[in-house]
Each structure stands twice: as C-alpha cells, then as structure tokens.
C-alpha cells in the first residue's frame, strides 16, 4: 500500500497508481506541452506560496513562488527550439527527489508538468515541516485546478519496497533521480522500458570564487551584501544542498587574498552571530569529527572554530573541500588567478558562486573547463536559485520530446498551389 500525499491524502494500492498514470497519459483531454491548464494551476500556486504569512514561516518556499510566475513560464514554452517544429510531453515521469531539500521536489516536477507529463513523485518518509506545508498548499490549490491536472499528478511515499520502485520504473518514460552515488547505482538496477531514459542528478559539490582586488575595492554596503548572499547560499539548507559552497577561493596575489579572506570571515562571523542558525550538539560534534579528519589527512593546515556555527579550514595547497563537513564549515584557499584553480575542478563540481569577475573571464574559465565540471557560474547569493537548466540539463527539454512536422520541399515557383493546404503526392 502506498501513501498518497497529492492531490489528496489517502492510501492506495500500487495497481491503482499505475492504472491512474496510464489513464492520464492516454486520456483524450491529456495535458500538452505548455498547457494553459498547467499554467493556471502553477500561477495559482505561485500566489499562494508568496502570501506573507507563509513566507514568514518558510522563507525557503518564496523562491519557488517566484519561479512559478506565469509570465516567465509561458515565455519559456512559447519559444521554440530551432531544431523542433513542435514539443510534446514525454509521457509518464517518475521523480525520486532528494530527501530533505524540501522545495527541490517542486522545481523539476513543475517543469515536467509544464511539459505536459503525468508525474509520480516519490516523497521521502522523513519529511520536513516545509515539505508538509508545501504539500498542504498544493492540495488546497489543486481543488480549483482543471480535472486533467488533478488526474495526472501524484505524490506518494512508501517504505523500502523494491516492488513499487520496480513497477514505477517499468511504467515510466523518464526517471529523474537525485541522490548519492550508491542511491543512483541502486535505482539503476530497476529496469526501464526500452524507450525510456534516466536523468540522474548525482551528488555534487560547490564552491565560490571571490576576486581579492574587487573585494578590497568594494565599500561596506557592498561587502555586507555579498556576505549576506553567501550566508543564504551556505546556511539555508544546512550547507548540505549540492549548490551550497564548501570552499571559498580567493583569487589574487597571496597577501591580498589572505587579507581579503580574513575580512570576509570576520564579517561572516558577525552575521552568523546575528542570524543564529540552529546548530545542535550532534552537528557541533560532526564538525569536530570532520575537520579533525581533514587535519589527519593533511588536507587542512589549520582549523579555527568560531563558536559551533562557523568553522574555517585553511586548506593545504592543491585541495578543495569536497564533502559536507557539518553546517557552517568552510574551506579557504588562495589562487593567483582562475586558471590556477582549473586543474582542481572535477565533474563532481556543480556551482561556482562568484564575486568580482567579468562575464568574459567567467566564460573563458568555463570554456577552459570544457565540461570537466561546473555547470553553473552564478553571483554569490544565487547559488540555490533553481533554474530551468540544472546540472547542465535543460529540464524543460529533457521532460519533453521534439516532433518534426515537415511539408514537401518543392521549389515554390513550380508549386504555387502549396499554400492552399495539404495535398497528396
């Protein structure tokens, strides 16, 4: 038995889930790519999510509200891709989102819905308060939505039940899965239909780069804004989102980079003291275990604790912090220029938050990396802002297919009647 959380809360058997999804995929009134009925629903949802009372309670839901604004979504689906004449839904999409980054569940789902798919989302049994809140708003909003929307979208949870995962995998046309390497490996053992495909979002890590010279030339207000943006990038999901920065790279001559880094950390410490992120005892211990471990392996030259909410690790030359070491643990590294950082970048790296670089410099850096890592270079403070393109994939396109519609290619001079409409050969 599965627990259904959307469109309404109830228990239902696996057969009914599968039958519902197949029916939604074949229904005569099924959703299309860029469907108005979906736009209406997502727009209503956007309004609900941006209500001040909700935003105060769960600020992390507000960016989702902005993301779902009708004007932008409609613009995306109106634009046509050069190679395709028409975009159509893929069919049934099975989502296995990350367990605890609550809002991440909604972004790929919304894009897949916008592409017209029937979606089934497997929710973690370990929910968070924000996830519960989000599901409540979703259930409320979908009451007013078109029946075709309600019939084709499903959020379920179930325990470790391979039978369910296998059946949903076999039934879907696209499987979107997030997770650590082991999770992805395990999920891949459940076969897909021959024409279906996987879109894996494996574990990634992120960093940020700051130009020491620009930092030194930035006034108080500017520095404060950068530190606040960084704080949100890092602490919003306990620094454990793939896009949250683990290492801060200072780019510039040694002395200048070190001075700028020290100033940044002092400001961050002051902000942390003011915002007081919740760091419990086990997290404080986790940070000790992780950072002492970095010292054992000589990855860290020094480890400084500024209370339990902020730990600063001076990395040994040639090292970046590659894995989560507990909320508020940052590696510090200095490089003379971006080129010196390039050899340390791997395919694991996802987002670089930046401050103080020109577009051309960043483009040149990305070109040099040539896909060997880093899919996003975004300003500090926007690391967690979900975008249509994520992990290097344009999700709206991945969730849809291109249809070619071509007419006979005949010189217009000989067949002027072609404009009149379809004719036989």
């Amino acid at each position: 038995m599965l627990l259904q959380h959307f469109p309404e809360e109830r228990e239902l058997p696996l057969e009914q889930v599968l039958a519902g999804l197949r029916a939604a995929d074949r229904a005569p009134d099924r959703l299309g790519y860029g469907d108005e009925r979906v736009l209406d629903f997502l727009d209503a949802l956007s309004h609900e999510l941006l209500r001040p009372r909700l935003v105060r309670r769960h600020p992390e839901l507000a960016p989702l509200g902005f993301f779902l604004r009708r004007s932008r979504l409609a613009q995306w689906t109106r634009a046509t891709d050069g190679a395709a004449d028409l975009r159509v839904p893929r069919g049934i999409v099975f989502h296995i989102p990350p367990a605890n980054v609550s809002t991440l569940l909604a972004y790929p789902w919304a894009l897949s819905m916008l592409a017209g798919n029937a979606n089934v989302i497997r929710l973690s049994t370990r929910g968070s308060a924000a996830t519960d809140e989000l599901l409540g708003v979703l259930r409320e909003t979908v009451r007013q939505a078109d029946p075709a929307v309600r019939a084709s979208q499903l959020v379920v949870s179930y325990g470790h039940d391979d039978e369910v995962t296998a059946a949903l995998s076999a039934a879907c046309h696209l499987r979107l899965m997030w997770g650590g390497d082991q999770t992805i490996d395990r999920l891949r053992r459940f076969a897909l239909a021959p024409g279906a495909r996987d879109l894996p979002m494996p574990e990634r890590s992120s960093l940020c780069v700051v130009s020491a010279a620009t930092w030194q030339g930035t006034d108080e207000a500017g520095r404060t804004a950068v530190v606040e943006g960084f704080y949100n990038d890092a602490y919003w999901y306990g620094q454990a989102a793939c896009a949250s920065p683990l290492t801060i790279c200072w780019i510039g001559p040694d002395g200048q980079a070190a001075r700028a880094g020290a100033d940044f950390v002092d400001r961050l410490e002051a902000l942390v003291a003011q915002r007081r992120p919740q760091i419990d005892v086990e997290m404080a211990v986790e940070k000790r275990v992780a950072t002492y471990g970095l010292a054992v392996t000589a990855s860290a030259r020094s480890v400084g604790f500024r209370g339990n909410a902020l730990a600063v690790v001076s990395l040994s030359p040639g090292r970046l912090l590659e894995s989560w070491c507990g909320t508020g643990t940052f590696g510090l590294a200095c490089f003379p220029d971006l080129d010196a950082l390039a050899p340390l970048i791997t395919r694991r790296h996802q987002t670089i938050g930046h401050f103080g670089f020109e577009r051309d410099t960043l483009l040149a850096f990305a070109r040099r990396l040539a896909g060997r890592g880093v899919d996003r270079l975004v300003p500090v403070g926007e690391a967690l802002a979900f975008e249509r393109v994520w992990d290097g994939y344009d999700l709206l396109y991945e969730c849809s297919k291109a249809v070619t519609v071509r007419l006979p290619t005949t010189p217009p001079l000989r067949r002027p009647a072609a404009v009149a409409g379809p004719t036989g050969p």
Binding site: I96, P97, P98, A99, N100, V101, L104, R122, L123, S124, S128, H160, D162, T165, M177, W178, G179, G180, T183, R186, L187, R189, F190, M201, E203, R204, Y237, G238, Q239, A240, A241, C242, S244, D280, V281, E282, M283, A284, V285, E286, R288, V289, Y292, G293, L294, A295, V296, T297, A298, A300, R301, S302, V303, F305, G307, N308, W324, G326
Partner: protein
C-alpha cells in the same frame, strides 16, 4: 588519605587524582604528538597543543579527540611491526573503530580491566552464569563485540553456565542446575544489560530465585530498556527482590579499551578508576560543565600509550552528580543517552531504493 584495600583501584579523591593524572596525561599528549603524525597534525591545525603543553594548567585544558575519528582514520603511536592486536568496536552503522595495541598495551589494558573488576568481584574467579548463548562465543568468521565482551569477562569466572540455548531461548534446566550447585556461595552473573533484563528478570520472578550470593556485572547501554520504560532504578529494584544487590553496571568503549567506569552499589552512579577520569563539557562553550549540569562526556585515561586515545570526546551525554561523596572517591556520574547522528540535509541524501 589511606586507600581502603577493598577499594582496589578506586582510591583517589578528586584533587589527588587530578594531581596524578594531569602530568601523566600531559606527558601522554607529548608522547603521541611525537609518535603519531596524524595526531600531531590535528594538534598543530587546531592549536590544541602549544609549547609542548606548557600552556596547559589542568586536566580540562588538555586537547581531546572526537571518538569517531578512530572509525575514519588509523591513528597509532607504534610502528606497524609492533602492532600486536587491533581492537575493533561494535557500532551499528558504518565502519568500526580500530584501536592498535602493542604487546605492552594489550597487557596493560587487561591488567587495568582486571583491577577494576577485582573491585566488583573480588580476587578469585567465581562460578559464572553467562546471560547469553554459548553460540555467541563459538569461533566465528566475524568478530562481534558481544563475543569479545563475553570472552573477556569469562576470564573472571569459572564453571561457566550459559543461560540461553543456541536459539536464544532460556535454558531453564541449566540455570536451575547452576544455582543448585553454586547458589549458596558467591557467584558471578554477567550479560549485556538488555539481555539480563529480558532473560533473567522474568525468570527470577517466575521461579522466585535466590540470587543473594550473586554479583551481577552488566554493560551495553540503556537504550533498548528505555523503550520499555525500564531505568537503572527499576532494574536494581527488581533484582533486589531476589536478593541481588551487588549489581555493577559498567561503562567503557573500545576506543579506550581497558578503561572501565564502574557502578557503585550504595550511592548511585558510575565511578572512575584511579587511572581515569571524566570531564563533562558544555557543548556550546566546550568548557567543563558544573556538577549537576549535563553535557558531553570526555573520558581521559593514562592507559592508551600505543594510540592517541588518552583523551576522547564521546558522543554520550552525561552528568556528574557529585565529587568525593559516594562509594568511592572521585566523580560520581551517569550516562543520559547517546547523541543522534547529525544528518546531512542536502540533495546528496535521496530517498533511496
């Protein structure tokens, strides 16, 4: 103060204890700093050891390692060729801890454990009722902490009887025979706390056993019993009804093997042997917490010389009830529970298959 000979290695009042332990632990810190490169890198990186310890004034100042480091890293202060045995911890998840002992350290930890247990049991090996199954100690491919615990304890007993059969069921005839043969003179009962409760407590009540000559030694934590709403008081009260009052819970960990904190029988709580101590730390400030204030337990011991485990921050919460006010001198404390594991709340942590 003249130590009571019956107190074995539980003789030092707190001030005397610190006067002995502090220089010894400072020397050990210096020793491991010289002989364990990973340990030295930690102290260098964290600034925990300045000027060879001259900046350190008392026990609470000395650097500590989180106990879980021994799961993730090999930390030892002896060359590979001198490793005599590697002790591995239990732990339900992930990798076990690995603690490296040379011959000398292995002997020292056994002697220390013996000196503690002598305090509870007396100088002679007693007939022993083992609240476990003989199958647990049978030679097996896997090293289980439970097997190691039972085998280690068997050194203090003789004429062994296992209370459980191979299927884990109570072996009533064996238990009756044991009590008939040995029940009128001191005997030893050993088992893991949860098994002692689930197997022996009910059996004692059913048959109204006379356990008045018994010494019960048990270990393993209260988590499972807490689920049954059984705490140490209830545990002791239950067995007292059958005359069993010499009950000693003990607290120790693989990462500080040989160091065991022993429960007293009159004033409740765990007591520290002369070569060890506990420091309760406030997890916000990391300073020593006052008597009566709960915090994380740091355990210090002069035993670990072959690996840097002489000062460890555990993941157990505890509280000191009193100092120099109980069955034995020194701190009197209890364990309040285990910290949960911190969870990564990130997208790396998906729902799974």
């Amino acid at each position: 103060m003249t130590p009571d000979p019956r107190s074995g290695c539980f003789t030092l009042a707190q001030a005397d204890r610190e006067a002995v332990l502090f220089p010894a632990l400072r020397e050990l810190t210096a020793h491991h700093y010289r002989h364990c490169a990973g340990y030295a890198r930690i102290l260098d990186a964290t600034g925990g050891w300045s000027d060879s310890g001259r900046g350190h004034r008392n026990l609470g100042d000395l650097p500590w390692l989180p106990v879980r480091l021994f799961k993730n890293h090999v930390l030892k202060s002896i060359p590979d060729e001198e490793v005599f045995t590697v002790v591995t911890s239990s732990g339900t998840t992930g990798q076990p801890s690995r603690v490296h002992l040379d011959r000398q350290a292995a002997a020292a930890q056994q002697a220390a454990l013996a000196s503690v247990l002598r305090t509870a049991i007396g100088p002679r090996r007693l007939p022993m009722l083992i609240v476990d199954s003989g199958a647990t100690v049978a030679r097996a491919a896997t090293v289980s902490a439970r097997r190691a615990g039972v085998l280690g304890m068997m050194a203090y007993g003789r004429d062994y009887t296992f209370l459980l059969d191979a299927d884990g069921e109570l072996d009533r005839p064996a238990a009756r025979a044991f009590l008939a043969a040995h029940g009128r003179a001191p005997f030893l009962v050993f088992g893991f706390t949860f098994l002692v409760w689930s197997a022996l407590a009910a059996f004692a009540a059913e048959e109204d056993l006379d356990l008045s000559q018994g010494v019960l030694v048990h270990t393993g934590g209260w988590k499972k019993l807490a689920d049954l709403a059984v705490d140490n008081d209830e545990f002791r009260r239950h067995f007292a009804r059958f005359g069993l009052r010499r009950i000693h819970n003990f607290y120790g960990m693989a990462e500080q093997i040989g160091t065991v904190f022993l429960e007293g029988t009159r004033m409740p709580g765990l007591y520290c042997p002369d070569f060890a101590d506990v420091v309760i730390r406030d997890p916000d400030t990391w300073r020593e917490a006052a008597v009566g204030t709960p915090g994380l337990i740091q355990v210090v011991s002069t035993l670990p010389r072959s690996y840097p485990g002489h000062s460890l921050l555990t993941e157990d919460l505890g509280v000191v009830h009193g100092v120099d006010d109980g069955d034995w001198p020194g701190k009197r404390f209890s364990i309040l529970g285990r910290l949960p594991r911190a969870e990564a709340r990130g997208c790396s942590d998906a729902v799974g298959g």
